[in-house]
Symmetry: C2
Subunit: 371 residues, 2 copies
């Protein structure tokens, strides 16, 4: 940005280089070959529904046409599923897109609050829109809702981000705690309740279906249980006024037509999603056993991943590197207290077997300091 012919705005001119996540493809280019198991990005190991796949094949024939910019049919189906009106559904290219829209609409050049070490793309957008980031630590590996709200109020935040279940923690708060937070929200503060992993959570963690309050956006995605991370379809269940506000700034022709049709078809196959959820539950239990066999603790998880507790940030970092070197793509949290863990997405049984196969050797690498 040194070229003076480029008139970057003051906000952009002062940004340091930012990248929310390095992708597994970049890591593969570094290591010179594909991973044996891709268990680092919380993608679904269980694919898309066969019904959805057939819809995708058919949709390819219409790829020359722009997607319906109103997402009319998808919003109608989602509205029916959530017991709300279509205007209570804001569709965008993944939750990341909605985070950007919300930061731009409600927090640009103001302040926003989140848990330190929680989903980094929210912090990315906060920086990018020139807002101040207020961070509150995890409390015993859980999002600290009370302290988050107190800090948001004290810091003058207009936007509060909380994921339930949380990523990367995997832990969750009860619906009653979320509802208490919502009751305490002051006027002029919006809550982004990121429920990307809701399908995998204990039912008691998720508030009843519907719009929770005029100033709450419940964020959902097709990237996890529906197996459509590569499709980019997310949505908010929110007040109609929020959707109308986003209409004025969103990328109207930003949706991929195939993804739109695949998502609609996937909604029509709830049996497949139930099967994915059961498979993820079995995989989490499997990971707990694998962890125990190697003297590690698996943190409780209400998501499609499990954190393996390595006891210290240094050991976790060494374990991460050893696993990646041995061909297993995983990630780890950067901020304490979760930086002592390695986050492993639930894979299929064959992928879990690869993890089980290399974990002992990777731990030995880590403990020898050779990693």
């Amino acid at each position: 940005m040194a070229d003076r012919r480029l008139p970057y705005t003051p906000i952009l001119a002062r940004l340091p280089p930012l990248v929310p996540f390095v992708g597994p493809e970049a890591l593969q280019r570094e290591r010179g070959g594909p991973f044996r198991a891709r268990l680092g990005a919380n993608e679904s190991a269980f694919g898309i529904s066969p019904v959805a796949r057939r819809a995708g094949m058919a949709a390819l024939e219409r790829m020359s046409w722009y997607a319906d910019p109103e997402n009319y049919e998808l919003r109608a189906a989602l509205a029916a599923a959530h017991g709300v009106a279509p205007d209570n559904i804001a569709v965008a290219a993944g939750i990341d897109d909605l985070l950007g829209l919300a930061v731009r609409a409600f927090a640009a050049e103001r302040a926003a609050a989140m848990t330190a070490g929680s989903y980094p793309t929210f912090a990315f957008h906060v920086a990018g829109y020139g807002a101040r980031l207020i961070e509150v630590p995890y409390r015993e590996d859980h999002v600290d809702l009370d302290r988050l709200l107190d800090a948001a109020v004290a810091g003058g935040a207009t936007l509060l981000y909380a994921a339930n279940p949380d990523n990367p923690a995997g832990t969750w708060r009860e619906a009653a705690d979320v509802e208490r937070l919502i009751e305490r929200l002051p006027p002029g503060m919006v809550l982004l309740l990121d429920e990307a992993y809701a399908e995998f959570a204990p039912p008691a963690a998720i508030p009843a279906a519907g719009v929770l309050a005029p100033n709450v956006l419940r964020l959902r995605t097709f990237s996890k249980a529906h197996g459509m991370a590569g499709g980019r379809v997310g949505y908010a269940v929110c007040a109609a006024e929020v959707w109308q506000g986003f209409e004025n700034i969103r990328h109207h022709y930003g949706m991929n037509r195939i993804a739109q049709e695949v998502a609609l078809a996937s909604l029509g196959d709830p049996g497949f999603i139930a099967g994915v959820v059961a498979a993820v539950q079995a995989g989490r239990d499997d990971y707990a056993r694998i962890a125990a066999r190697h003297g590690l603790t698996a943190l409780p998880s209400g998501a499609n991943f499990v954190n393996f507790d390595a006891g210290s940030a240094a050991r976790a970092e060494a374990l991460l590197r050893a696993l990646i070197r041995r061909g297993v793509f995983v990630r780890k949290a950067k901020a304490p207290p979760l930086d002592r863990t390695v986050r492993v997405t639930v894979g299929r049984p064959d992928e879990r077997a690869i993890l089980a196969e290399v974990l002992g050797a990777a731990l030995a690498d880590a403990d020898r300091g050779s990693a």
Copy 2:
């Protein structure tokens, strides 16, 4: 946006309701049935390459995986095609996405200049980022590059938008004229040179391949000649500093994996693209004959659409309504002088036959004032 619990930023709070384009699906819902011919959105009537289709079928099997956020392979292939380095290629979800990024990076809360009535999505982003829009009229149905630059300088614009060929005009300027504009660009002003329709233009209209200047973004798309409007893949050929600036604000996980792989495959099938370009040329000639048969003039076009001159804005509006009522989706420009025309995307021969079949009756409707 009346709810005081929603803390819209001042920029958003003062925006009137904005929609860049009403989609054909919304028009179909209004009229209660599908169009006989979809010739209004400048989508390709000639589909995607068979090679690209096969890549899409294969990519569907990897839909559960996020796309490579660096777009590494696609950027490498585009760099080779344009004779530049990969860091001179900025990939995003269509040109619309790049327009938003450029307005945000270079013009937010400042001023930007464009031709009045040219591509409305640029104006949409200018409004959404709180910038002032400077508009210059077409000159004899052409973009007036000299006056555009003069107005941009006089108005303190940091961003100048010019499409070549232009949409909706279809007309173009010679490469030498574009190059003269670039030489005259003052420091601190960025040119967005929208070349979405470059493949269909006379070769003399398009500057030689490569980065034209540090402060020029050449915008290209897979939506037109490559037939991938529903895929959302656009890119800028630009200075590496521009790409680096966008890295700090772009939606890193915003690309659809299938679209990414289809675009890469389509680049590998230049014979298909040449065939599309030839078919579009034949279609434009056909439209000129159809227009002449009905006493209309077809404007010259360097794009995949043709403007039928109805002689007055009122007659063009009536003709538009009559065509839509008769099942042919077309669009028309809203601003003078092009508001006297109806814009018809080049269709396949069977679609052109439908237009030819209904045009006489639609004109009669329009002239009876019954439309």
